[in-house]
């Protein structure tokens, strides 16, 4: 890389500034924006399943909705009850409201969606509607 400002010896910090400009370009500004929850998507012939890790969240605090082919998971992670006098040594967990929309490969009807929560892992199974399934065409004899 060529730093034209460096050729001006009167400005010793020119090269530094020029390098920092280059570095800043590679650092995304929205790095603190995180996606929660992380999801795994499972596919089969008759259904699609979405699993997500939602530790510490009561199932009643989670809202799942399906509209056409978009599945939305939203809710709130509530911070634990801690006395005010407590000292925090570590705070790695995150709390607050979250929302996540996932596009499904087909439009699902509400009665074909089933959600279950075990040990902080949410599993949503969306059945494929019959009209979306491939139809086998019989060949008639002439």
């Amino acid at each position: 890389m060529y730093y034209p400002t460096y050729t001006r010896r009167s400005d010793p910090f020119g090269m530094m500034r020029s390098m920092l400009r280059d570095v800043n370009r590679f650092i995304p500004t929205n790095s603190d924006q995180s996606v929660f929850p992380a999801v795994n998507v499972w596919q089969g012939d008759d259904a699609v399943a979405v699993t997500a890790e939602l530790p510490g969240i009561d199932p009643s605090d989670i809202d799942i909705s399906v509209k056409d082919n978009v599945l939305t998971i939203s809710g709130e992670r509530k911070a634990p009850d801690v006395p005010d006098a407590a000292r925090w040594h570590r705070n790695e967990r995150r709390f607050g409201k979250f929302t996540r929309a996932i596009r499904l490969p087909f439009a699902a009807s509400d009665d074909k969606v089933e959600a279950r929560m075990t040990a902080g892992v949410l599993r949503i199974v969306v059945g494929r509607p019959d009209e979306d399934k491939p139809r086998k065409i019989e060949i008639k004899a002439a």
């Binding site: 995304p28 929205n30 790095s31 924006q33 995180s34 996606v35 929660f36 929850p37 992380a38 999801v39 795994n40 998507v41 499972w42 596919q43 089969g44 012939d45 008759d46 259904a47 699609v48 399943a49 699993t51 890790e53 939602l54 530790p55 510490g56 969240i57 009561d58 199932p59 634990p80 801690v82 006395p83 006098a85 407590a86 000292r87 925090w88 040594h89 570590r90 705070n91 790695e92 967990r93 995150r94 929309a101 996932i102 596009r103 499904l104 490969p105 929560m117 075990t118 040990a119 902080g120 892992v121 599993r123 199974v125």
Partner: protein, 135 residues
Amino acid sequence: MTDQMTHTPETVEKTPAQGPETMAGGRIYQPLTDIVETDEGVTLMLEMPGVSAEDVDVTLEKRVLTVRGKIQGTHPEKLQLAYAEYGEGDYERAFTLSDDFDPDKIGASVSHGVLTVTLPRAAEAQPKKIAVTGS
């Protein structure tokens, strides 16, 4: 099937633990942990999604508190993994405690995939200061 977010997800999440490999080839993760201290003792909250109460192992030996959790996989029947943002694996993490705690008094409970470990400070275990005398 694509996610609506355009950038790659940057979840603040569990990280694979450093250490020896497992025999079965599964991964081991470090659970995200909150540690809070009050006058009564220390409370640890560890995120271990997929772990039920009977699969947790908490030990305290020579001031090192080790927490292990075995997960029950979530592979749905007849379905193949098509897109993955998180990995599944057992959990393991160890902490060196600053004080001595009575291993018999440690309490542990699991609720919705979060393990809460309580280390109560016994009354007689209050720090005793030893006076150093000069000769």
